[in-house]
Subunit: 706 residues, 2 copies
Amino acid sequence: MSAAPTRPSLTPLFEPRAIAVYGASSDPTKIGGRPLDFLKSSGFDGPLYPINPKSAQIQGLPSFPTVSAVPGPVDLAIVAVPAPGVLGALEDCVAKGVRGAVVLSSGFAEVGGDGVQWQAGITALARRSGLRVVGPNCMGLINVRRRLLGTFTPSAAGFGLVPGRISLVSQSGAFGGYCLSLIRQRGLGLNLWVTTGNQSDVDFADCVDHFARDDGTQVIVGYLEAATDRQRLFDALALARENGKRVVVMKVGRSEAGAQAAASHTASLAGSDAVYDGVFRQFGVLRARSIDELFDVAYAASQPVPVPQGRRTGLLTVSGGVGALMADVADDCALDVAPMPEDAQRKLKAILPFCGPRNPVDMTAQLVNDLSLFERNFELMLEAGRYDVIVAFLSSVGQVVELSSKLLEQLKKVLQRFPDRAVIVSALASPEVRKLFETAGVVLFDEPTRAVRAAAALVYFAEQSRRAALADVPPALPAGALPPPTRAVNEVQAKAILAGAGIAAVAERVAADEAAALRAARELGYPVVLKIASADIAHKSEIGGVIVGLADEAQVREAYATLMERARTRAPRARLEGVVVAQMAGKGVETILGVARDPVFGAVVMFGVGGIFVEAFKDVAFRVAPFGVEQARAMIAEVKGRVLLAGVRGQPAADEEALAQAITALSVYAAAHAEAIESIDINPLVVLPKGRGVLALDALIVPRAG
Amino acid sequence: MSAAPTRPSLTPLFEPRAIAVYGASSDPTKIGGRPLDFLKSSGFDGPLYPINPKSAQIQGLPSFPTVSAVPGPVDLAIVAVPAPGVLGALEDCVAKGVRGAVVLSSGFAEVGGDGVQWQAGITALARRSGLRVVGPNCMGLINVRRRLLGTFTPSAAGFGLVPGRISLVSQSGAFGGYCLSLIRQRGLGLNLWVTTGNQSDVDFADCVDHFARDDGTQVIVGYLEAATDRQRLFDALALARENGKRVVVMKVGRSEAGAQAAASHTASLAGSDAVYDGVFRQFGVLRARSIDELFDVAYAASQPVPVPQGRRTGLLTVSGGVGALMADVADDCALDVAPMPEDAQRKLKAILPFCGPRNPVDMTAQLVNDLSLFERNFELMLEAGRYDVIVAFLSSVGQVVELSSKLLEQLKKVLQRFPDRAVIVSALASPEVRKLFETAGVVLFDEPTRAVRAAAALVYFAEQSRRAALADVPPALPAGALPPPTRAVNEVQAKAILAGAGIAAVAERVAADEAAALRAARELGYPVVLKIASADIAHKSEIGGVIVGLADEAQVREAYATLMERARTRAPRARLEGVVVAQMAGKGVETILGVARDPVFGAVVMFGVGGIFVEAFKDVAFRVAPFGVEQARAMIAEVKGRVLLAGVRGQPAADEEALAQAITALSVYAAAHAEAIESIDINPLVVLPKGRGVLALDALIVPRAG
C-alpha cells in the first residue's frame, strides 16, 4: 500500500510557545471565556493573548483586536467566534504565521446551509496555507504536561489531570469529555487529548499519526465514528505499531440500531462493521466493546509491564472459586491456562498441603497466616511453570497497607529475577495501597475478570507486534495472471482466471450438448458433476442447476435432460451455454472465499467456513487487500468454523496452509485489479485433507460497472 | 417434580435471641476471638455467651464452661473449637435446646482422615436432632439488620455494612469474604450473608429456600460450586421465583481449566456446565459471568424499580457516540431498540433541531444549556415511544450537584406519571450525587454499557416471572406409550417407541433380505433410503451404512449388496437384521434431540440445530425433564442455529411449534422412565415446513445397565 502525501506536523497544536484566544470573553462560563479561564488557572507555561476588539482587557489579560497585533510569536489560536467570522479569524492567523488553530465554534457542516460553505472555506485555507485546523464543532485539545487546556469541556474544570503515557483522540466531543472525566476519576495518566469534531482539516488519522511519533505516548485511545481516508488511516496505524504504540479503539455501530445512531451522528460514510473488525486486527488495534474495557486496556498497556512472550498464563489465587472464574475468562480470551509440571505441583503441595497446585494455583486464605507463600508460589510458577503472564488474585488483602506492602516487596523481588514476565494483580485495594502498587509499576484491578482480560490485551498487543515484525509482505501476482473480465463470464472462465491468480480449481469442461458432456465425463473420469452453464445464472443451486455424483453414461444423460428442462422452466431468459462437466472433488471442508468493495476500505477479502452457516451465523473474517500469508492464517484462526478444518468426527485435518495461500493469492489479485472488480465469490472453496490443497468448485466474478 | 421433605427452618441461625461462642478466645485476632470481638463491637442486640472452660471472663464477658451452664435461652452457637471437639460441643448444644450452629473450625472432610468421620457425625446429629448446622470449614454468617457478625472473615472488621434487600450465599468462604468487601466498597444494601463450607447439613439450597421465604430479601446472590441435591435445589429456586425474588448466581467451571480448578476445590460431583446453564434458565436464575456483573445485577434488581412490561428499550443520551454504543450493547442483550414513531420524532426535532430523534434520542451537550430538554424528551419517549425501560446517559453531569438535583426532580415528576416504566441512569457521579439518586430510588451506573446490561437483567427477570405465571406444566404421557427397552434395540424399534411417546418418525420397514427390501420400497413409494439394521451398530453413517435417494428397484438391489458388503468388512461382529427401508423425508431443517443422564440433575433433554455444527460449535440447549412447552420454546429460542428454522436462502420457515411439542413430549417420556434410560439420541430430527410437523429419521435408545 502506497504512503499518503505528508501533511504538516501537528506539533504546533500540541506544543505551542504562545496561544491566542479568538473571541475571548470576560465571562468564564461562555465558550469563549472558558478556555482562557482554564488556561490561566491550570497554569499553562506560555503567554496567552485574548483576541477581542471590544475590550482592552479580558480576564485580567491585555486583549488585542486581532492576532496580527500581538507582539510576540503565536503558534496556536483557539477560535470561539461565531461561525460566520471563523474564516476571517483563521486568515488573520495565517497572516501572522500561526501554525495551528482549534475551532470550537459550531454552526458548520453539522447544521447545513451556509455552514457547509464556511467549512469548505476552512478546509481550503488549511490545505493552501499549511495551517493545521482542529474542528470546527469540537471540544478542543489538551496537553497535560504543558498544562494546556485548549478546550471548553466542563470535564476539564479544575485540571485534576495526572501526566502519563495515554493519548486520546475522539471524533465526538461529548464522548471525549466523558472520557476525560473518567480518566480523572480513575486517576489514569494522560499525555495528549483531542476531539476532532467536523474534521475540516485534522482528522482521526492525523492524530493517530501524531501520537505514533510522540515519545510521551505509549497507548493511543481512539473513539472512531467513521474512517474517511483509508490510506492515511492505514499509514497512521502501521506507524503506531512500528513505533511500539498500543492502540485501543472504540468504534460504535456494530448493531443496526447502533449503526443508525452513529450515522445520524456524523455525515460520514461508514464501512461495514465486520470490515472494521478486520482492519483493526490487520493493524494490531484492539477494539473495545465497553468504556470499562477501553480504559482497562489503556491503563494496563500504559504501565511498565514486560511484553508477554506467549499465551502461557498462570493464575495465582487465594480463593479457589475466583481461581476457577479467572480460568473460565482466560479460556474465553484464548489464553493458555497450562497446568504446572507434575514435579512443581508436588513442590507446591510440600509448601502447603491443602493448596490447589495445578493452575490456578490456590494459596487459600492461608496466605494471611503465612505471607511467604506468595513469594514461594510465585517463584515456582515463573520458574517451573514458565508462564509468560501471571494474574494474581489477592482478594481484599489490599485493604490492609501493612500486608500489601509486604506482598509488594516479595513481588518486586521475584520480578527482578524474572524481568521478562508480565504480572497483573487483582485485589480490592484502598487508595493508599493502590498508589503503592502503581508507584512500583504493578498493574492493579479490583475485579479479577477484568485483570484477566487486561492480561489478554497485553498478549494480543505482543502477538500483533511479533506478527508485524515478521514483515509479512504480500507475494507478487503470479506471472501470466489474467486480468479480470470486463463483462459477465461463466463459472468455468471465472475459475480459469482465478487459477491463473493462484487459486486451484476443479478440473472441468463446458459441454454444449449431450454428446460433448458424455465425452467430457469420459475424459475427466467418473463420478462427475453436471451444472448448468450460463453467465446469466449467478446462483445455480437455487434453481436446481447442479446434480452431483453421476456414476455412468446413463446418469449423465438423464442429468443433462433434467438440467435443460430446469433451465427452460426456472430461468427462461438466461442464455445457455450447455452444461459444465466437472470432476467430483475429494471429500473436504467447504469454505467460502470472496472479495467485496467496501465504501471506505476498497477491496476487502472475506473468508468463512461452511456454506449456509456463514450466512446464518455471520462467522466470517475480513481483511483489506492485499496482505501476506500471516494475515490469512490469522483470518482462519479467527472464525469459529475453524474447528471443522481441524477435523471433527474422525475426519482428517484439512490443508490449512494451502487455504492460507489461496486467501493470500486472492488478496493480491483483488488489490492488483481493485478498480476493475466489483466482487468475487468462490463458494464453495473445498479444503482437502492436509497436503492435498484446495479446490474452487464454483466461482463468480462480477466486473465493476465501467 | 415432587417436593423434597421439609427440614427445620434456618430462622434460629439468622434471627437468634442469644448467641453462645464455643472456643471463645481472649485474643480478638484468633478464629475463636474474632467473632466475639465482631459481635461486641458491631453491637449485636442480644446476649452473648463465651463458652470456654479455662477462663471465667473472655473479652470482658462472663464465660461458661459449656452452653448448658448458660442461664437464659440460646438459639445460635458459633463453634470455633478444634475439629476433634466439635461434635461434643454440638451435642451440648442439642441438650441445651440450641437450634442453630455455625461451625467455623476446619479439619473435616476437606482434609480427609478422621475429619471425614467427624463430619459424618455432625450430619447424623443434625438429621437426628433437628439442629441446623452451617459448616464446618466455613466463614459463618451475617444478619446486617441485627448487626449479627457470626464470622471471622477480616472483611467484616469494623462492620461498615448498610442494611438492604440483597442476601448472599456462597459455597466458598474466600469468595464470600471477597464479596463482603466488595459490597462494603460499593455501598450495596445487604440483608443476610452466609458461607456454607463443607455443607455437612445446611447447603446452598437450604439458604436459597430461607432467603426465598424472607420478606427482607429481594435479591438472592449465590456462589455455587456444585449442586448436590437436585430436588431441593429445584424446590428452592422455584419458591424464590414464586415469591418474586430475583436470583443471580455465579457458577464457575465453564472452561476445562475452570472446571478442573472448581473440582479440586470441592469434593462434589459437578454436573455438566451446559446443563447448569439450562437449569438456571429453567428456574429464572440469571447466571453472571463476572463479579462486576454479579453485583451490577444484584444492585439494580434490589432497587424499587418497576418491572419492565416488555423488551422495548429507549435510549436517551447527551452523546451520540455513547448512544450508539448503548444501542450496540442493547442489541447484544436482545433488547428491542425500537425507533420513536415518526410524529414523535418530528416533535423532538421541534424541541431541538440538531437532536437525534430516532432511538437513541440524542439531546446533545445542549442539555447543559437547557435542562428542560430532559423532562420534555423523557416524557415523549415514555408517552409516544411506549418504552418499557429507558436507559439515560448523562455523561459527567452527575459531578455537579446542582445540575443533578434539577434533573432528578424532572425525572421524579415524569416517573410519577408513568409509574410502570423502569429507568436506569448512567452518569459519572460524585458520591454526593450518587446518594441523591439512590435515595430517590433511581438506579445509577457510572458506565453506560453496564447500565444497559442491568436493564437487560431486569427484563430477563420480568420475562422469567411472566413465564412462571403461565403455569407451564408438562403434558401427560400419551396413553399406550411403550416402556423403554431393557436391552439394545434397532432404530426401527427405537422410533416405534418414540412415536408412541409422541415424536413422529419416518415411515419404514425392516427387511431381512433383498426381496423383502424391494417389497418394502414398493409399499413405501420411491425414492427410499436403505440403512443397515443392527442393534450393535450405533453410528451407521460412520461405516457408510446409509445410502439415500434410491429411485428404483435396480438402485435398491445395488444398495442392498453394498450395505451387506460394508457391514461384513467394517463391522464384522455386529449381528445383522438386514436393512431398514425408509421413505425419503421431505426437505427440512436437521436438528438433534436427545436425553442424557446428568450425574447431579438426572434426566436432561438436549436440543440443537444442524448435525456436525452442534458438535463443532456446542450450540445446544439443556433442560431438566420433564417440562412444559414454554420451556421447549425457550430452548429453541436459545440456540444460535434457530436462524435456520426461520428459513434462510429462501427456504420456508420450519414447523417450530411441532418441534416444541416433540421436545416437550421427549422430556415427559424421559422423566417417566428416568431410571430405565441411559440416553436417547434422535439425530436427525427433521423439522418440516410450518404445519407439516417433525420426523425422526434415526434414533438410538440406550437402556440403563440394570
